[in-house]
């Protein structure tokens, strides 16, 4: 694996550990916060007559505003974690991706990065190639996999052109998943396919 990507992988694993640790700490803290100041039950008079008394007390704790608040806090935490997971891309990986894309499309080409590990290469003012990165593919355990998507191709021969460049056509766009060590060569192929089709 490329040195930059290796570094990025280490960084990612590190940051993920920190994020998880923070999540656990906040979980514990909010647990204490919500349950230490007395229970505010939703049902004011628990049905003692048909549940044993101990169970009724437990029920009172579970069906309380404390629990509602706790779950709200927990879902906010989960939301932030999910957002971080979606948006965070280690900077060495960003450098790697952009330098490779610049190598293919020219040093002066306009490349923007947006949240959620997405890159956009402008091939003209209105047309662009989207590059989406997945830091780790869950199913296969592969690191740094990219999805390339071309602008809309109107040529009738697009199926044939796509096949000949090792791509598929989805929604009238050339799309393909590539591994990190294929990014350079297959972006060249994509650029070539686009110019052939236009």
């Amino acid at each position: 694996m490329d040195k930059l990507l290796n570094k990025a992988r280490g960084l990612y694993i590190d940051r993920q550990r920190i994020a998880l640790a923070a999540l656990i700490a906040m979980y514990a803290a909010s647990f204490i916060l919500f349950y230490s100041n007395g229970i505010d039950s939703i049902l004011k008079d628990p049905p003692i007559d048909w549940i044993p008394a101990g169970w009724a007390q437990g029920f009172e704790v579970v069906a309380s505003f404390n629990t509602v608040g706790f779950f709200l806090a927990f879902s906010v935490m989960m939301f932030f974690y999910a957002f971080w997971h979606w948006a965070f891309m280690p900077s060495p990986a960003v450098t790697y991706t952009i330098s490779i894309l610049k190598g293919v499309f020219g040093q002066k080409s306009k490349i923007t990065q947006s949240l959620g590990k997405r890159f956009r290469v402008y091939v003209s003012d209105t047309e662009f190639i989207d590059v989406k990165c997945r830091i780790r593919e869950q199913e296969s355990g592969e690191w740094f996999v990219y999805k390339l998507t071309s602008p809309i191709i109107s040529s009738e021969k697009r199926e044939d052109i796509a096949l000949r460049h090792g791509m598929a056509v989805r929604n009238n766009r050339f799309t393909t998943w590539v591994a990190h060590d294929e990014l350079h060569h297959r972006s060249i192929l994509l650029a070539k396919a686009i110019s052939l089709a236009s």
Partner: protein
């Protein structure tokens, strides 16, 4: 096919093959040689010397190759798949053709390693 078209296909085939990474290239070459035989995931991962689990091969590399119509995967049973090269692919037919024509020796090597597994 005129020789110009032939050369062009060759050029495109070389470009395509060199754009793929080691694992994918090894898969296409192995499948091209043993065509029309199909193999299971475990056989394939041994055939190309893949060190990871064959399950991860399925879900990453193979599914991407299939999306791009380079290989075909038939599900025989939920756990057993038959993987073979897509012989209708405009470039890979040429690869298969070449393997058939000149790859007799390599084919023997591939087939031998397949047979030894079956024993």
């Amino acid at each position: 096919m005129s020789s110009d078209d032939n050369l062009r296909t060759m050029y495109e085939l070389i470009q395509l093959m060199s754009s793929l990474n080691d694992t994918r290239r090894a898969i296409l070459l192995a499948l091209g040689h043993i065509y029309p035989k199909s193999v299971s995931g475990v056989q394939l991962s041994r055939l190309i010397g893949y060190s990871g689990k064959s399950r991860s091969l399925y879900r990453g590399v193979l599914s991407h190759l299939q999306e791009n119509d380079m290989i075909q995967i038939d599900e025989l049973t939920p756990k057993l798949y038959a993987i073979r090269i897509n012989s209708e692919h405009p470039l890979l037919t040429v690869l298969i053709e070449m393997c058939k024509e000149f790859g007799e020796e390599s084919k023997k090597i591939y087939l031998k390693s397949l047979e030894e597994e079956e024993e």
